[in-house]
């Protein structure tokens, strides 16, 4: 890495099911202003901007240009990145590369979505190949459900294991995260009693769709050190887009893209024993079942070890490796922002600014992004510019 990059500010909106008060640019503006405030910067300090969302959720073409009133892009370098569900983390990585390139010292990365403006499932269905798949693939739920059926059959995982993930994330949101969309504590019994959406996934296993925005400010090393005493250093990044046809992914009991992206990020960062070396994880778990099946892809447990890990309680707030102190995606999902929120939350942890979500002594954190088509991004963030 030629130029070290740290995150110096994070801002997000209070995520809601329908943020009817805000026009899109205003929603973006709230997150941006909060990020600037958190870093004690003004828009004049920002050298460039990168923004992302998923077009068809708001039906606005060239969002980077449209966003100017709220993103601060007036007479500034600005561009748009969009990669589906991973957009938020892709935007985060793009922000990192803007700074790491040495071309821009201080970079504002914005992820946002105003899902209430459209029919989310209908919009997502347009991602499927219009000739081969679109007619029968039912949005994002079907493929994930099919994946868990395969995992349960192979490794003996249960629906209750998934329910534990849901309970963990929802309770974290309820207790620790005032920004989260869903803030209701739930029990395993309530999850098990919730109606099936697509077997074996039930309503309380699913993420919501939310309106919200998140802004993260990246800076090159010497700038970052001048802006804040505790930048959140980016030690490693990995992106992986393996699959193209959704049907290719059904039957996979794991997430190869996550495994590969983690491999890249871990190598860059020097992570060799993820479970021990990470203090916290902010993981893009779009359905509770993924919170069981994907742990091994991150090297957090042995193959088929998801149920053991979840049942052990080690991933709860008082455990060895708290996962999703923010409540994760199950509590908040403004799609274009979601991946960036994971990066932002991870940064807040190592900066010691996570408030009620703070895990004591958090020094090294992993953040992931997930999206169509079973794609993954991984980011390793640390309180020190190098792994100790």
């Amino acid at each position: 890495m030629k130029n070290r990059v740290g995150i110096v500010g994070v801002g997000q909106t209070h995520h809601k099911s329908r943020n009817t008060d805000c026009k899109g640019q205003e929603l973006i503006g709230i997150a941006v202003k909060r990020a600037l405030e958190s870093a004690e910067l003004t828009m004049a300090d920002i050298d460039s901007i990168v923004i992302g969302n998923m077009d068809h959720f708001e039906s606005i073409n060239y969002v980077d240009m449209w966003s100017v009133d709220g993103s601060g892009g007036y007479m500034k370098p600005i561009m748009k990145v969009t990669t589906g569900g991973t957009t938020g983390s892709a935007v985060g990585h793009a922000g990192f590369y803007h700074a790491a390139s040495g071309l821009f010292d201080t970079v504002l990365a914005i992820g946002w979505e105003q899902n209430s403006e459209s029919d989310t499932t209908a919009a997502i269905s347009t991602c499927f190949d219009p000739i081969v798949e679109r007619e029968f693939c039912g949005g994002a739920i079907g493929p994930l459900a099919a994946q868990y059926t395969a995992y349960m059959s192979k490794y003996g995982a249960t629906e209750e294991d998934a329910a534990l993930v849901s309970v963990r994330d929802h309770n974290n949101a309820a207790q620790c995260n005032p920004y989260a969309h869903l803030r209701q504590a739930i029990t395993v019994e309530e999850v098990m009693k919730s109606p099936y959406i697509s077997y074996p996934m039930k309503l309380l296993d699913m993420c919501p769709r939310s309106d919200g925005a998140c802004a993260v400010i990246f800076a090159v090393e010497d700038k970052a050190r001048r802006i804040t005493e505790r930048p959140a250093w980016i030690l490693g990044v990995g992106d992986c887009h393996i699959l193209v046809q959704v049907a290719d992914g059904i039957g996979l009991a794991n997430l190869p893209s996550l495994e590969r992206a983690a491999g890249e990020a871990y190598k860059m960062a020097g992570i060799t024993d993820p479970y021990r070396q990470f203090d916290v994880a902010e993981l893009y778990v779009p359905a509770s079942t993924a919170g069981v099946t994907w742990m091994e892809a991150l090297g957090l447990c042995e193959e088929g070890g998801g149920p053991r890990l979840i049942r052990s309680g080690m991933t709860n707030m008082d455990g060895e490796l708290p996962i999703n102190p923010s409540g994760g995606v199950l509590a908040t999902n403004p799609i274009g922002a979601t991946g960036l929120i994971r990066i932002g939350e991870a940064a807040l942890q190592v900066m010691g600014k996570a408030e009620k979500k703070q895990v004591e002594g958090a020094k090294v954190v992993v953040a992931t992004g997930f999206g169509g088509c079973f794609w993954s991004d991984v980011t390793v963030i640390s309180a020190s510019p190098q792994l100790d």
Binding site: C22, K23, E26, G29, S116, S118, D119, A123
Partner: protein, 158 residues
Amino acid sequence: MAVSSEELGNTGTLKYPSRIKLPYTWHAGKAGSRFYREIKDHRKIWGTKCHRCGWVYVPPRETCPRCFLDIDEWVKVGDAGTLLTYTITRYSVPGIQPLEPPYALGIIKLDGASSGLVHLLGEIEPEDIRVGMRVQAVFREAREGNYLDIKYFRPLRS
């Protein structure tokens, strides 16, 4: 049994017509909502003014894009203004046009505003439109709280 592409034949490409039709409900936000309510209820056009650069935005914003500052000073602008530029749309595009072409569009700088407002021009022949002419908003009788509550701008009558 494998065959070569030539043996299989049946070349030639197919096309599948389709349309993406998704429902949307856009939020106007606080500034936009007030802008439209004032037009609907009172036939008055308001903008917001930035206390730093003095720019008066129509439609109004809560943040000045130039200064990136929160602004909250509401300024009533005239419903008459000067035509900055115009065009006549002469092609038809189903589904997106408010009128049958040919129809005229212009950017009008309302008296008191710094921003121009893009809108329709009416009650004028295309060949009579001039940059710099004075125009005035014509409000619809039945208004709904949207952009076309202003029906169009017509030449200002003295």
